[in-house]
Subunit: 158 residues, 2 copies
């Protein structure tokens, strides 16, 4: 069995439950996406503490992002980010051409509206890992053509 | 990083959230343990469908339990159940001498009362996997000395 199956099954279960609670008028008022993002954030924080850091002291912000594209993605999704771009002003775009949590969705425009639920946890995961590595950020995700996906990181300067 | 870390982190997050909701008077009324068990059940069902079954047609109930002790435990916890006992009347006791989801808890009697929260998901996982393999059961767990743990499976005959 593929190593990542257990994580994917558990993630699917989280998404299903969060979506069900959103539809339940008696349920929690906290929107599903916020809940999923929050869970991802805390898992990302903990994961970042456990990843092997060959160079614990990164010189540049870009080095932290490269580390995340390689090590965090490797640990969670068994692949690396396919493309990393930056405007060199604190905005980074991480592109995964075949994002694991979307590959199980059928290809087709009619499913695009379902995509945000499957991305919220990972947005939190990225934000949490960066936070542990000393970078506060806002992370959003965007899908144009399934199962490719772009995560945008905007660093929050103090 | 150990392969199981991601699953363990996500599981810890589930337990924390479920416990928090139990304390919140505005939260869901469904008890945390039931929620965790239900999530485990569905993940167990899906996992059992994906596990490699050398002998898809098990001759005996005991063969199904042995398969679960080896393959399901291997896939999720990277080890096998240490001891399987049965009364040959539909009751099975699976003992794990070092249960992964309890090893992070400190040793000590004062933590024993916290243990059920960390076992509910796995009780569901076992029940769900057995259900997919054609056996309806009631699964409970019991901890006497951390981090050892016993799961009791009582098969429900029709």
């Amino acid at each position: 069995m593929a190593e990542e199956t257990l994580f994917q099954l558990l993630h699917t279960e989280l998404v299903t439950r969060a979506a069900r609670r959103d539809r339940d008028p008696q349920g929690e008022q906290r929107p599903a996406l916020t809940t999923l993002e929050g869970m991802g954030f805390r898992v990302g924080q903990s994961l970042a503490e456990r990843l092997p850091r060959e160079a614990a002291l990164f010189r540049e912000e870009l080095d932290v992002l490269k580390f995340l594209c390689k090590e965090l993605w490797g640990a969670v999704f068994r692949k690396q980010i396919d493309n990393l771009r930056t405007n060199h002003q604190g905005t980074y775009v991480l592109q995964d051409n075949r994002f694991a949590l979307l590959t199980q969705m059928a290809n087709g425009h009619q499913y695009l509206e379902e995509a945000p639920k499957f991305l919220a946890f990972t947005c939190g995961l990225v934000r949490g890992a960066l936070s542990t590595l000393g970078i506060e950020s806002v992370v959003t995700a965007d899908v144009a053509l399934l199962p490719a996906c772009k995560f945008q990181v905007v660093v929050q300067r103090r």
